[in-house]
Amino acid sequence: MAELKEGRPPAEEEEEEARASGGEGGLPGRALAAELLEGPGVPSWIRALSVPVLAIVTALALGALLIVFTDPTSRAAWAGFFVDPLHTLKVSGIAVRDSYEALFTGALGSPTGIFNAIRSGDLHEIALSLNPLSETVVAATPLIFAGLAVALGFRAGLFNIGAEGQLNAGAIAAALVGFSFTGLPGPLHLVLIALAGFLGGALWGAVPGYLKARTGAHEVITTIMMNYISYYLVDFVLLTTLFQRPDRTDPISKPVTAFFPHLLGSDLRLNAGILLALAMAVVVAWLLNRTTIGFEFKAVGANPDAARTAGMSPARTFVTAMALSGALAGLGGAVQLASISPSLTPGFSSGYGFDAIALALLGKSKPSGVVAAAFLLGALRAGARSMQAATSTPIDIVTVIEALVIVFVAAPAVIRGIYRIKAQRGAGVQVLTKGWGG
């Protein structure tokens, strides 16, 4: 095991070695992936990306099996497997191809469509052809906020499963500000909405942080419970006269009255919310890498006892980190309200909390990684909607793929085992969470 050098901290620094020297590398007699990824000249960022990328590929492959198993035509063909195996495989292949094709064109648009639209020069046509891309970005926007929230928590040693509840809490506050203040100048109103979401989420996130700091209550349980409480809180406020739309009897809030401007015309839902999301990614990166608070987060996350010995206060860090984490999720809720779903409804944030965990793991808790992962998952989610419309494959396949990605990214040894890649230097066991007492 000479190659496995422990002791180097898990790749903390950003991709500064990214532009390390190129060169061909290859060892004969190995699996293709191993050959491509292990040569001495392969840049380290390719090695670093190899596990996440292979995790995604493997998850998609397993997802394909699921499609083969559930698609009615392919299932019917399997009945005749022993009569005509080639036909069976062909039908299965077509089912998978159709589903994934619908998934990818739903996420990115069809290249020929975009090309023809641009050649025609008609702006409306161009906008239409770019709609899938715009939808991908729109789907990625709240994911970036939620993913950053969970990633920030991870860095401070906190496993925040409560992004969902924090997003709801932020959305409640943001909705209140969004529909009750009228007559304000738009930009100012937007700032207030964002601020309300930020504070609402911060408050909701600070509670588990405080409980952990004061009583040791594990944040995994408290944040999950806070999620459920937030669902009922949303249900409750939506039926109060303060929130409910006067003309409706179902639980739906009055719409907010200020919106992030559209970026590419009103045909596309693409809006400035994504810019705020990207800005937040930069802020989180700056916070983590360039400030004392960020240093304390990482120190406490790596070893709370050592941090305490060094004079830091893990308790204070837990509260601050959870509050900031919640604030990011809450901001995501506010942005969602002020861009694509102007009214708060039950199930406003269903699923973002789980998605966020996948994103933080996939992005290795780095803001840049989270953004990339959020675009990927946003593409899958946007694509899955068209896939469900075009084929018989249910949208929930994305959840399955997502869970598999989490497993493979959390257990790189599995991926390395499948593709016979050697462990990277420093790729020891990364401790992300601690036991109950922590």
Binding site: L66, T70, F159, I161, L211, R214, T215, G216, A217, H218, V220, I221, T222, I224, M225, M226, Y228, I229, Y232, L233, D235, F236, F354, I357, A358, L361, S392, T393, P394, D396, I397, V398, T399, V400, I401, E402, A403, L404, I406, V407, A410, A411, A413, V414, V429, Q430, V431, L432, T433, K434, G435, W436, G437
Partner: protein, 433 residues
């Protein structure tokens, strides 16, 4: 945390004692002013002590004057508060705290039931029934964590057990056929299949956390998402178009001869379905097994000090695999309860966090099967209360009642975990040197 004699109380402890005393006072005031003076002076609360249907011996209803009972209970709380503030209950504080909370609940019930009748037996029956999945989840957690593997994937195992249980039971004949202990052959197969899928997911958790040293909490979360995604996906792909796959039938209640005739206790404990009996048996088995057998001693050794256990020849990893898979079987059966013991069909995400509440019950019960069961009863009671109260049209928004179990969980985890000590090696992978 050491027990402190009452004459040498450190500042922190006396501040806590004073805070507890003030809390008792607030409870007493609330009982007197809201539950006592908040009802008409001539109102009475009726508690029905017979099951909703059946019941061999009819017992007269218990009718209490609402205001007088609440005032009496309030006075009792005030006395306890005074004693706490003046002298303190010392190491019995927690017991008294439990008593005061119970008194509060009783006073609350007399208030909620004023001028109405409230079926106490029905309430206790549904408490026990609602405690079933929580107990199974908590037992699963106890089995895993006593061998030092944290199982956050209980929720997913419950959900998978519910799904597979319903499908297999429906395919294998559903509600038709002779009943054995209240279940048709199909339902029994569904139960076994639920246990099997629980074991399968637990096996995944075990391989990930024991062989691949994956962070156990993340592995558990991944199992939850896989279960949620797969069951939702398969339920849309198959169950929605084909209702015959989602008609498993429900285990019937089985009366235990003789015991079921007892007043109050009979209908609550001895006229239930298989899952309730299974739960009671499993709690006893797990308790005796863990604390009074050689197997249990070994498991606990592996959970507390794996290296020492290894040194004396206990196979640490094998023990962990075995316990995690056992835990999965228990959780899978608990999951099958949702479809085969309660609802009779599968709905997307129907477990609604019961697995996590089971984890909280495990912590509340201090990693002890009996403690976990009692904690699950508390959660079951909160659950049952929230549904019963909405029937009584209590002037509290139903959403707040629905929040109650989750709020209780937070209170429990925050209030108790500090004093509860998990197995020393909990969550730490073991690598042989």
């Amino acid at each position: 945390m050491t027990a402190v004699a009452s004459d040498v109380v450190p500042a922190g402890a006396s501040r806590r004692a004073a805070a507890v005393g003030v809390f008792f006072l607030i409870v007493a005031a609330m009982i007197v002013f809201v539950f006592g003076l908040g009802v008409p002076s001539d109102a009475s609360s009726t508690f029905v002590l017979n099951p909703v249907q059946g019941g061999a011996i009819h017992i007269p209803n218990l009718t209490l004057p609402s205001r007088a009972s609440a005032l009496a209970i309030g006075a009792l709380c005030a006395v306890l508060a005074a004693v706490q503030l003046v002298r303190g209950f010392g190491r019995r504080t927690n017991l008294v705290l439990g008593v005061v909370v119970t008194l509060f609940v009783v006073a609350f019930l007399t208030w909620a039931a004023h001028d109405k009748s409230f079926n106490l037996v029905g309430m206790l029956q549904s408490t026990l029934l609602l405690a079933v999945p929580i107990t199974f989840g908590a037992l699963s957690g106890v089995l895993c964590e006593r061998s030092a593997v944290i199982n956050v994937g209980i929720e997913g195992m419950l959900l998978a057990g519910a799904f597979v249980g319903t499908v297999i039971a429906s395919v294998a004949g559903g509600a038709s056929g002779a009943h054995i202990l209240g279940g048709t052959p199909g339902e029994w197969l569904g139960l076994l299949a639920g246990a099997a899928v629980g074991a399968l997911l637990a096996g995944l958790l075990a391989v990930l956390s024991i062989r691949y040293l994956v962070d156990q909490i993340i592995a558990g979360v991944a199992i939850n998402i896989i279960a949620l995604g797969l069951t939702s996906y398969l339920s849309i792909a198959f169950l929605e178009q084909n209702n015959a796959l989602n008609a498993p039938g429900i285990f019937r209640d089985v009366k235990i001869p003789g015991l079921a005739q007892l007043p109050v206790v009979g209908p609550v404990l001895f006229d239930q379905n298989l899952f309730v009996y299974l739960m009671l048996v499993l709690v006893a088995l797990a308790y005796v097994g863990l604390f009074h057998t050689r197997w249990g001693l070994r498991v606990r050794a592996v959970g507390e000090h794996p290296r020492a256990a290894d040194t004396v020849g206990i196979r640490v990893l094998a023990t962990r695999y075995r316990n995690v898979i056992l835990g999965g079987i228990v959780a899978g059966i608990g999951g099958a309860f949702f479809t085969l013991g309660s609802v009779g069909r599968f709905d997307e995400n129907m477990t609604a966090g019961r697995g996590f509440i089971g984890l909280a019950a495990m912590i509340f019960g201090r990693w002890n099967p009996i403690g976990a069961f009692l904690a699950a009863l508390v959660f079951g009671f909160a659950d049952a209360l929230s549904t019963k109260l909405s029937i009584l049209s209590v002037p509290i928004d139903s959403n707040f009642l629905l929040m109650a179990p989750y709020l209780v969980t937070i209170a429990v985890v925050a209030g108790v975990v500090r004093k509860a000590r998990p197995p020393a090696a909990d969550g730490k992978p073991y690598v042989k040197e």
